[in-house]
């Protein structure tokens, strides 16, 4: 093992590979900061360029872009409430509120440091435990996935700071909108109406940029924002204070743990990780009502979770040849183009690639922290730009970002529509975060449900006859009832009292 690590470092510490790693994380950070443009678009652009490098440098650069984007994505979430990726949505909830209270610096700082700790720890986890974890992940078939996501849905209700009923309504809408597109079992087109754009489903990025970014701008404009700035510049507090650290250290470690394990499961790993971390922190916090108003735990936990997940996303790729998401699929392709056969024997057949990439992730994390922390001052000053100049820039970047995804004008239109919907939702106090969660995970829930029912030929029992699935289902059901019960008890009590009279 130590030999492998040393071998890996001997590869990743060559000056060429250090440079590539740096380029990768730099580009990744920039890409993460720009709304809309995501790591997948960037990696597809860079793919042909990396053809002229060897397989290790190519993967080093591309994976640097990926986890660099995770760092950068939190920057816009905190500063302007625009999530760079689905996993950064949760960071918007409290991070942006912190920015509004003049605490953008600490938020950014905790996000950067938390991500660093999480990233480093999960690289260690990857090195030690990749094959056994992969083996365990193999035991997750469709019923297990369903139960896991079902459990996640039960937990998501914790995300709602406001009315439970509204959260559920909004989640149902999210699940429904997620069904638009081509049904993967029958091939039927659902709610597509002959529109080629819709047949891929409504894109997540335009929706999220609209609901969070555009809606925020609309709401601010309403409040005579032309005259205000987002935050009064408080230049002193650029870094997290000691009490911030004390509050965050627990969430960081818990988030890392959650994100790491959930990220090994293909599908919604990173997203589930950040949402789960938020829900967990809110649940165990002594002041849950602070969540949604600028609780630093709500930034520390999810940010660590999504960085841990972006590292553990590599596990299914490197140990099974199975891409956990679209970006991993691109990396798979990059390996293929270099003649590497990804698959269960990659670690044994190509140890140089595996260990070279893994050790360069260490370096990447260090580079990212060094890159991001000094920039915090710069970002905070950005917020003191008068809003009347800032908001056109925000909208400009959003529109360009939405178009850059697929050169499709429809996606801009979708973003605008959801911006208006988001604005209306805010007016009526419906929250966007549960919607996003349901929109992303609803299709996965449906997919695993139908696969499971196909496998069991219709009996629901399959979820309970398999040990892992049964455990998760039970936890999910229990969680659901725990939350429903306070309301339940109240109504019961009232009903009981009424019946006496």
């Amino acid at each position: 093992m130590i030999d492998n690590i040393l071998n890996g470092f001997s590869i990743s510490l060559t000056s060429a590979n250090i440079l590539y790693c740096f380029l990768g994380v730099l580009v990744g950070t920039l890409v993460g900061i720009l709304p809309g443009l995501g790591p997948s678009a960037t990696i597809s652009l860079l793919l042909p360029v990396t053809f002229y490098l060897g397989p290790s440098p190519a993967i080093i650069v591309l994976s640097g872009v990926y986890y660099g984007a995770m760092y950068g994505g939190s920057t816009t979430s905190i500063l302007v409430n625009i999530p760079g990726e689905a996993a950064s949505v949760v960071t918007c909830l409290d991070g942006y509120q912190m920015a509004r209270q003049g605490r953008a610096g600490p938020a950014l700082g905790i996000a950067a440091f938390g991500s660093f700790i999480a990233g480093t720890l999960s690289v260690v986890g990857l090195m030690i435990a990749a094959p056994p974890i992969a083996k365990f992940a193999l035991r997750f078939g469709p019923p297990e996935y369903f139960s896991l996501i079902f459990m996640a849905f039960s937990m998501v209700i914790y995300l709602a700071s406001g009315s439970l009923l509204k959260a559920v309504m909004v989640m149902s809408a999210g699940v429904f909108l997620g069904t638009i597109g081509i049904d993967f079992v029958t091939g039927e087109e659902r709610f597509v109406y002959g529109n080629l754009t819709l047949s891929d489903g409504i894109g997540l990025v335009p929706v999220v940029m609209g609901l969070f970014g555009i809606a925020e701008v609309l709401e601010n404009l309403e409040k005579e924002a032309a005259k205000i700035t987002i935050v009064k510049p408080k230049m002193k507090n650029l870094l997290p204070t000691l009490s911030d650290w004390k509050a965050s250290i627990g969430p960081i470690f818990r988030g890392t743990f959650l994100g790491f394990f959930l990220g090994t499961l293909p599908g919604g790993g990173a997203i589930m990780g950040s949402f789960a971390s938020y829900a967990l922190e809110k649940k165990i916090s002594k002041k849950p009502e602070q969540f949604g108003k600028g609780a630093i735990e709500g930034v520390a936990g999810p940010e660590s979770a999504n960085n841990a997940a972006s590292t553990s996303n590599f596990i299914p790729l490197l140990t099974l040849g199975m891409p956990a998401n679209a970006v991993m699929a691109l990396l798979l392709g990059a390996l293929m183009i270099h003649g590497v056969r990804p698959g269960p024997s990659l670690i044994n057949d190509y140890p140089d690639i595996f260990w070279g990439v893994v050790t360069s992730m260490y370096l990447g994390n260090i580079m990212l922290v060094i890159l991001n922390v000094p920039m915090i001052g710069l970002w905070v000053r950005l917020l003191s730009i008068p809003y009347r100049i800032l908001f056109p820039l925000i909208i400009f970047f959003c529109v360009v970002g939405a178009y850059s995804l697929n050169n499709n004008i429809w996606e801009i239109i979708i973003m605008i529509i959801f911006g208006i919907i988001g604005y209306i939702m805010r007016k009526f106090k419906y929250e966007a975060a549960p919607f996003t969660f349901a929109f992303v995970l609803g299709p996965l829930l449906e997919e695993s449900l139908r696969q499971s029912l196909l496998m069991s030929e219709g009996t629901v029992g399959i979820f309970f006859t398999r040990p892992i699935s049964c455990t998760l289902m039970v936890i999910g059901i229990v969680l659901f009832f725990i939350q429903a019960s306070p309301q339940f008890k109240r109504k019961q009590l009232r009903g009981y009292i009424m019946s006496i009279f």
Partner: protein, 317 residues
């Protein structure tokens, strides 16, 4: 004075008129970069084979080849995009059976047929792999089929109405068993399902999961046995329908002049000839068998495949 103007006018007219002929003269083609639109996302088999040929063809044709991606709707977005482009040979389409033949047979929004395009050349084929878990009791395809007649087998593929799905259903019809399809999202997901024991059989276009400690390859859907696994029979040898392999090819919008079509085809042939061994090695490493077909052969092959699938889809539905 007037003479000067007349001469000037004549020169101008000559230049303008000759401009009309520039595009049509095949021997001058290409004079600017050629763009190949790929309807699949970068990093897949389509991307792989096009990138493999790109360097060599660029040297022969002396013009850059740019691969752009227009993904979406199971390949329809890119295909429909190229349908409407100019037939001057500079805008081409990378097409596979999955993006070109199947959508018109299975979807209403696939508003195209072969006649809307000009076939240019075929690049390669990849087989489908039918795999079971290594510790599965079935060591050959025949054993599996025998058992499938009594026990309802569940199989994973990379999607509904893909080559893999239709192939296994056709196999079932001919061999006399009724399998249950569990669609997955992508080849890796399907293979992993078999690896985890959640399904009995996986059928998809990848052999990366075959080997000790992983999956056992029972049969391949291919014209010839694979070089990497010469002991595994093809479906054809076992007297089952020879379908499922994916052909990767280049087409263009309707009406490209024959001269230009052959220039492009010759470009690919020469590129392969010059670097035969290396390209074959890399291609085989990813289970691509390089198979260069010219325009007519390509049209014929795709038509055959189209008829195959149409027949089985009709029976299946």
């Amino acid at each position: 004075m007037k003479k000067v103007y007349v001469i000037f006018l004549v020169c101008l007219i000559t230049l303008i008129v000759s401009g009309f002929f520039l595009d049509v003269v095949a021997s001058d083609f290409p004079t600017r970069p050629i763009e190949i639109t790929s309807p699949n996302a970068p990093g897949g088999g389509m991307d792989f084979i096009n990138t493999l040929f790109k360097g060599g063809v660029e040297k022969i044709l002396k013009q850059p080849i740019i691969i752009t991606y227009k993904t979406g709707a199971a390949g329809m977005t890119g295909t429909l995009y190229v349908k409407g482009l100019k037939s001057d040979g500079y805008s081409l389409l990378a097409a596979s059976i999955s993006t070109f033949v199947l959508p018109p047979l299975t979807r209403k929004t696939a508003d195209y047929t072969f006649d809307d395009f000009t076939p240019i050349c075929n690049l390669s084929t990849t087989p489908l792999a039918l795999c079971v878990k290594e510790d599965s009791p079935y060591k050959t395809m025949r054993e599996f089929i025998q058992a499938a007649k009594t026990k309802k087998m569940q199989y994973a593929t990379h999607g509904a109405f893909t080559t893999a799905h239709i192939t296994v259903e056709a196999l079932g019809k001919v061999a006399g068993f009724q399998p249950l399809h569990i669609p997955h999202k992508g080849a890796a997901a399907a293979m992993t399902a078999a690896l985890g024991g959640h399904v009995d059989l996986a059928c998809a276009a990848t052999t990366s999961f075959v080997g000790p400690g992983k999956l056992r390859l029972l049969a391949v859907a291919s014209d010839k046995r694979l070089e990497s696994h010469p002991e595994v029979p093809t479906l054809k040898e076992l007297d089952y329908p020879n379908m499922g392999q994916v052909y990767y090819s280049i087409w263009g919008p309707k009406g490209i002049p024959e001269g230009i079509v052959s220039t492009i085809y010759e470009g690919y042939v020469k590129a392969f000839q010059q670097n035969r061994e290396e390209m074959t090695r890399i291609a085989n490493g990813q289970d691509h068998t390089i198979l260069l077909l010219n325009s007519k052969e390509l049209r014929k092959t795709f038509q055959e495949q189209h008829d195959f699938y149409k027949k089985f889809l009709a029976e299946y539905k």
